[in-house]
Amino acid sequence: MFSTIFMFEIKRWLKQPVFYVYCAIYFGLAYFTTISNLGAFDAVTRTTSDPVFVNAPINIAGFFNSFSTLIYFLIPTIVGASVYRDYLYNVHTLLFSYPLNKLNYLSAKFLSSLLVVTFIAFLCVLGYYVAQYHPGINVEMLGPNNFRPYVEGFLVTVLPNFILFGSIIFALVTFSRNIYVGFVFVLVLFLLQTLLDVATQNVDNRYLVALLDPFGFEPILYYSRYWSVEDQNTNLLPIKGVLLYNRLIWLAVAGLIFGIVYYKFSFSQLGLSFKKSKSGERMTKDNFGSILRIDLPKVQIRYNFISNLKLSWRLSNTDFKFLIKNWTFIILLIIAFLFVLIIISISGELFGTSTYPVTWQVLTAMGSMYSFFLNIMIFLFAGMLLQRSRQTNMFLLIEATAVPNWVLLFSKFLALLKLVFLVMAVCLVNGILYQAYKGYFNFEIGHYLYELFFLNPLKFIYLILFALFIHSFFKNYFVGFILCLIIFFGIPFLSKVGIEQMIFKPGSDPSFSYSDMNGYADIRHFIYYRIYWILFGIILFGLTLLFWRRGIISNFKERLTDFGSRLKPSVLIPILLALIGFLGLGYKIYAENNIVQPRYSALEKELQQVDYEKKYKKYDGRAIPRLIDVKVDMDIDPKKRDFLAKGKFTYVNKTSEAIDTIFMNLTPDLKIAAKFHQPSDLILKDSVLAVDIYKLKTALNPGDTLRIDYTISNAANGFLFDRSEVLENGTFMNNMMFPVLAYFDDGEIDDNRVRKKYGLADKPRMADPRDSSKLGNNYISQDADWINFEATLSTSTDQIAIAPGYLQKTWEKDGKKYFHYKMDAPILNFYAFMSAKYETRKEKYKGKDLEIYYHQGHEYNLDRMMASMKKALDYYESNYGPYQFNQMRIIEFPSSMGTFAQAFANTVPFSEGIGFIAKVDEDDPNAVDYPYSVVAHEFAHQWWAHQVIGAYVQGATMMSESLSEYSSLKVLEHTYGKDQMTRFLKNALDSYLLGRSSEQIRENPLMFNENQGYIHYNKGSLVMYAMSDFLGEQKFNDFLKAYASKVKFQLPPYTTSIEFVDMLRPVVPDTLQYLIKDLFETVTLYDNHIKDVNVKELDNGKFEVNINFLTSKYRTDALGKKSYEDVKGTSLAHKDGKKTVNSLPLNDYMDIAIFAEPIEKEGYKVDNPLYLKRIKVDKINNQIKVIVDKKPIEVGIDPNYKLLDQDSNDNRKKI
């Protein structure tokens, strides 16, 4: 019996055309994605490159995981509906009268459908594998292929999930007799996945998450999260521990669910229903024999355009009611609501500190969630509405009436549009409730309405028209739905095959962002694109009408005949008008993007980089005049959003040779005129690469001065978008607009794999600090050392304009306000121009002016920022030396420009998104005060960058970013105490480990880092903090002060990390010299963990704690390949069970701690160490015995994360 049903089901599927459609779609997707990852489309787009092999075991598992996620959408129709189908087609009344065995029936149904789904998954694997033999791919991205990772990946991430989700959906659909319930479950799965992604970023107990993740990918990440490139390329999947437990737990759950289905299922059962059964009522007929006269009242029957429009509206009400009374909709909406609440309460956080729920932030976080749900609803419900009359078999009644097709279609459109507005209204209520819940009562209703009821619907109008179009071709709306999804999610990937422009990617738009300072800025950009797509949608609407199914259509030919007979002016003219509008606007947009200003594709840009290097590399390192003096007149027009900059630049030939050729690097897309004060010829103008080369009539002799006046303005703002960086409120521009008189090796391709393709020699991203010829430039500027700076800014009268320097004078003239700034001492060639309607907060502290320029309403953190400036000033002046300016300014800029802060001389532009709306929980001692810390970091740059600046070679950012980050840590530590450090340090360690696992080129040691964020910020702060901890804060800071006083404001050759380390080395005692090598000179990591701990209560009431911990130290090469031998070839080894643990020879110091029950501080838990000692460790396996007074509950090796440990989660262990 089993095999009969099983084979019947399989054969049935093999006969279904839809099965082959699914097979083709999924195989194609897998194949296509893989060849695209392997660079098959490099001929039309930017070169694909990644140091991790595409077929590395971890990537195989990742690919399987993401593709099986796509297949989950098929489970409700294939697995879920396997039993339900028998009811749907009324087979059950026949089938269940046979002597069937329940177990045979259910298992045959389940397993056969599971096999079908698994087969489709297998096709994806096949597509993935076969794609590796596609001609023209980059075979260097493939490692050796091995059978095992494929099998393991399939058995771990695909099959158990299908069994688990399959059985759940099987149960849900079988009992509810509703495929949508299964489908809603798939959506819940997706949300769960997103939620897990978000949750794991902040969760301390990742083990628990790994254990409970139903997808089985978190437990893999649990082990592989910090794998280096080398690890990822060589390690097999970690089939052990939590991964196995996880899979077993969920398989058991699947078994349990199937068991429940078996016990609860009965052949005669009815579907479960949520409705209460109504009380019965006896009905009798009374219709015998009467003869009636039929005399229908006269009514007016009208089918004109206006009455048809009204009719569409009324019909849409019926459809709309159907939609909102639908369980699928109600459940989706409830889930959306809950999900948004969860996400929004997590995503408002940064470093464990939340922001105030200002409206734009609530809208950003929430809008994307509701949009996701709405997309799904539209794709699903468009199909349901279109097929509804057929499914209920009412279509003949409807279609025999004289209602025009367009009225029917338009009413569906209206119903879906009403749905959009309803969901948007829920979104609004949700947002306001959330704000109120958070105690934030500045409800910006107008802002909500504009975004939710105007901007967002512009997107959904097109999507509705698109979904109706797709669905009109399929009777089975699951096929239509899946096609909608695939097209929708696939369109962004068109760039991978070289289709980059949004006008060719249906439904794409430049999106929008809001800032309290500048509103939606040039929102017209977004709106034009949306209008463009709505016009396209109208064409689709017309096509849908032409192909509209009315009555009984028996073949496609009839549809074509219908199509032909409908080609009438009443349909054609609107389509034609929309087409004209679509093409017209499309051409305008195309022209704006391609003709008014040339547009370069990603591939063209890459080729330009190659071109630039090949053509102009010869100018690199040539003698150039260096900038010494800058005077700028900057005219900002916030209303028109234009600027005009006039710069008087003075250069001097500081070299010992005469210079007659001036190489000038320009900023593309700006109008730039250069006027030399001495005779010169423009001998080369390369407008594509933005290079001009001038020949001076008389050469510039050593010591001679060259003066150039630049006039720069933005390219005109077009109808579509602003080309200028000037904003109506909150302009922030920097000196990048001015030409640079040097070859720019920043513009070269960094990736050696790509360089090879273009015949370029390998090169490091930055020059070697040991090469003394490379020390002539600091890393801020290619053609300047220290400059005199003066600027006069003009702006509208209601704004304040700011540039580095001290305000000399301000005046009004011709309706503009002028600000004259001047620096009294030379600064780096790095300055900014800002202008906005600012409020100001000013204080004088120890003779220095501390000022904050902020947007009205953003007063939340001014006190904190001010306090941070004071504390930082104190700490830095006493530890590093005097502050070179007598003023410090923090200036807010719109979040739409980014969320960062940047330090210019006495001037720190600071995004509204990073600190101004931060909400620091005063009561929580573990909460991090990040406005405070960011201000301290930026202020530290006044020393570490604006006084001490490294040469433009590897390691330069160690002296700026690492030391600023260290400084900020110290300021925090002195304000909030050491307890805060643990959290910061662990965060830094985790970010470092994550950063190195996604390194694209190579991981350098700290002192040779090539401007790599995860090294100079995260590892750098850990290293500096550890040095300060090991040497003592005072001793380390004294060294810093000595170093600073030696190199600050120096002229070339600039200082390097080598000089820094060489000066540090004598300060470090012999026993700690290993730190220099481990922390600065190499990439060295520990693997420390507590293996075992036990406690004995002694007779005297004290406790004896025995701790067993393992220590291992290793070095890695640039891709993470580990080595355990020192230069002499010695290495330690220890047998730990079956495993051998290796290590570099050890003579290292580390902290060991024992903690009692945490202290409660105002409701929050704080570490309570009973014992904390730095011990020397010289072997891998260590035992220590400590006697403590109170009952210990936790022990830790390096409990505060001061060492670079490859896994920070096993340093502590609860007893």
Partner: protein, 294 residues
């Protein structure tokens, strides 16, 4: 107004000829379309109701060229398909209001008036708030009539409406049809001869996509006058008799003997007695001789 069908042809994808050069002219009043299951009745009805396109031929109703101006016909059409469903969880009143809308009755008052009227005609008024998807077969058919009447149709097409109705429902249904048929053109398809006999004075008999007979009941029976013979036989003799005579129908008596009716130009055998031709005889003779007899 007269409905004129010329040369209507339709072949389905599976090769079945559903309509084979059908020519019919139908005037006002009740017109019965008689034929066995699968004769092509529904295909013909759907084609007239603009819900299916023929491969060839034309349909004219008054001055409406039906195939080229479908909406013009739909405005004056009332159609009740053989089987239909309705949107679930909607009451008769709501659904009728919906159909009144679809039929172009734009005024709310008008809709209310006419919906109430058709509810009363079909005796559904007391059940107007009940969901139609829960109606019994007879009530659902009445609902079908109710929606059909909303636009006061000139041409009414009802496809096998009496199948599955209890006798009282069937009677009532036929009575209502009759009332309407007095003023309009009603085409009524069925495989039950009695329906046509009771209701229609004009009829056509269809099989295999062809119209085999077209005329009135009287014309049909008159053409068979003196050609129908009957006889009572034993069950055991049936095969033998059937081999000799053209038996057009037979039915059991209570004592397990059979009454057979035979079509023959003159007395086939002295054991037969002459019988008065009935519509049923016309039907069976037509089907049996299966040739065009218009």
């Amino acid at each position: 107004m007269e409905l004129k069908i010329s040369n209507l042809t339709k072949t389905y994808n599976n090769g079945v000829k559903a309509l084979d050069h059908v020519n019919l002219e139908i005037g006002p009043g009740m017109f019965g379309l008689l034929g066995p299951n699968g004769a092509g009745k529904s295909s013909l009805m759907r084609t007239i109701a603009t819900l299916q396109s023929p491969d060839g031929g034309s349909i004219q109703f008054g001055d409406i060229d039906v195939l080229n101006d479908k909406n013009a016909l739909r405005r004056i059409l009332g159609y009740l398909p053989q089987e239909f469903g309705v949107y679930p969880n909607l009451s008769a009143e709501e659904l009728l209001n919906y159909f009144a809308d679809l039929k172009g009755i734009g005024n709310k008052q008008d809709r209310k008036k006419i919906v109430q009227n058709v509810l009363e005609i079909t005796n559904l008024y007391d059940f107007r708030n009940k969901s139609v998807s829960g109606y019994s077969g007879g009530m659902k058919q009445r609902f079908g009539i109710a929606q059909m009447l909303l636009n006061d149709p000139k041409l009414i097409i009802v496809d096998e409406p009496t199948a599955g109705l209890d006798p009282a429902e069937r009677h009532r249904f036929l009575n209502v049809l009759r009332e309407i048929g007095a003023q309009h053109t009603v085409i009524f398809s069925t495989h039950i001869v009695d329906d046509v006999r009771e209701l229609c004075h004009e009829l056509a008999i269809m099989n295999g996509g062809k119209v085999l007979f077209r005329g009135s009941t009287q014309e049909g029976t008159q053409s068979l006058a003196g050609k129908i013979w009957q006889k009572k036989i034993d069950r055991a003799d049936f095969e033998k008799e059937n081999a000799i005579y053209n038996i057009i129908s037979s039915n059991y008596n209570q004592d397990n003997s059979l009454n057979i009716r035979v079509y023959h130009e003159n007395l086939p055998h002295e054991s037969f007695t002459s019988a008065t031709p009935m519509l049923e005889d016309v039907y069976f003779v037509t089907l049996k001789s299966d040739k065009v007899n218009v």
